[in-house]
């Protein structure tokens, strides 16, 4: 049974909830609420607002968007939303803070608590969506005592393309972002999208699966690179985490062991920041991307990365 999307990996469930918010933000449906005072709050504590409630055509995104729209009268923070979507609304009890979860479990808020329940089967529903898109197929398997529907990969090219993008991004040796790391030209936010993909996969603990074809050293370097990228992109404006600051401590061990591989890596991360800044709408005023940074910050705090 090795190789099945392990059902003991909780990180992926949590990371997928973060991805829902990131995808909605990239599609310009939600953003950080534009309040000049928000800068006093830590990034992950800033409130989310719905900026466009048109359907996306993706059921899970649309469901989430509807719930967020219904919650507009009592906006909640990035942190709270990731927790709520994961069905763990107790992770951040701030008694003196305006976080609505902390004090009121009445009417509206109670509805919100049900969201985690409603989104419970996100993984299975995503898999079914991928069956509809022709990427996975459904197979009945006999597991000793019971039959179960499983979803093997039907179109390996699609999966390989995703793997190639991540590997190209994390093994880039110069400041130029390799085209192989990006979606087709004309795709919206395509540099930031691959950054989010790598960072979310890292937080979901599925990155080593993508590194199957890399040797040990390449793999360690790629992990360290992803760690650097996550540190830079989990701050707003992007790239304002001081180098060597709290953000990039985690993988110090392997990085020291590798000696001087840091320089070209640093260049590549800086190049990435330059490219992503070109994609921002209104630079530091891009509240959608500010939200993306906030979600990445939440994901960077996951136990899997500490």
């Amino acid at each position: 049974m090795q190789g099945y999307l392990s059902f003991w990996n909780d990180n992926i469930s949590y990371a997928l909830r973060g991805c829902i918010l990131i995808e909605l933000a990239l599609r310009r449906r939600i953003a950080v609420h534009k309040d000049p005072n928000r800068r006093r709050l830590p990034l992950a504590e800033r409130l989310i607002e719905v900026t466009d409630d048109r359907q996306t055509g993706e059921t899970i995104l649309d469901e989430t968007l509807r719930m967020m729209k219904a919650q507009e009268s009592e906006r909640m923070s990035i942190n709270s939303w990731v927790d709520l979507l994961s069905g763990t609304p107790t992770r951040s009890p701030y008694p003196n803070n305006s976080d609505p979860l902390a004090y009121s479990i009445t009417g509206e808020t109670w509805n919100v608590l049900k969201i985690g329940y409603q989104l419970k089967q996100v993984r299975e529903r995503l898999a079914k969506g991928l069956v509809d898109k022709g990427v996975l197929r459904t197979e009945k398997r006999n597991f000793l005592l019971f039959d179960m529907a499983t979803h093997p990969v039907a179109d390996l090219r699609v999966k390989d393309a995703v793997v190639s993008r991540v590997v190209a991004l994390l093994t880039a040796g110069t400041s130029a972002v390799p085209p192989a790391a990006l979606e087709a030209p004309g795709t919206q936010m395509r540099t930031l999208r691959t950054v989010c993909l790598a960072c979310s996969a890292y937080a979901a603990s599925v990155l080593d699966n993508a590194f199957a074809k890399l040797g040990y050293e390449e793999r360690e370097t790629a992990f360290a690179r992803c760690d650097d990228i996550l540190a830079e992109f989990s701050a707003w404006p992007f790239g304002t985490n001081s180098p060597g600051g709290s953000g990039s401590k985690r993988r110090e061990g392997p990085r020291i062991a590798m000696g001087s591989s840091g320089n070209s890596g640093r260049e590549a991360v800086v190049g990435l920041l330059v490219e992503v800044r070109k994609e921002l709408v209104g630079g530091d005023e891009d509240t959608g991307c500010e939200l993306v940074a906030g979600v990445l910050e939440v994901l960077s705090k996951l136990d899997s990365l500490l």
Binding site: T56, E58, I60, R123, V153, V162, A184, T187, M189
Partner: protein, 85 residues
């Protein structure tokens, strides 16, 4: 084929140009055509308009897979399957 049966092939909205001299053209253009890249004709769908609007607001094409789907896919090993959990 009954009109109210569940599934039917979409028809192209446009009337084939009558001046066309190719005798086979009317039969070729009477169905919705292929949706695959390189297919010559695709039915007009009201959703196409929405997609155009979407793209102009989002500043480019929306990729075929969502970020969630891509992360899930990375978690699967080749020739293996996901369990419904």
């Amino acid at each position: 084929m009954s009109e109210n049966s569940g599934l039917s092939r979409r028809r192209v909205n446009t009337v084939p140009v009558s001046s066309s001299s190719d005798p086979s053209s009317s039969s070729v253009t009477s169905h919705a055509g292929s949706a695959f890249a390189g297919g010559n004709k695709i039915a007009f769908d009201p959703r196409d308009l929405e997609r155009d609007e979407e793209e102009s607001k989002a500043g480019g094409k929306i990729p075929p897979l969502t970020l969630m789907e891509e992360v899930l896919l990375l978690g699967l090993k080749d020739h293996q399957a996901s369990l419904p959990v």
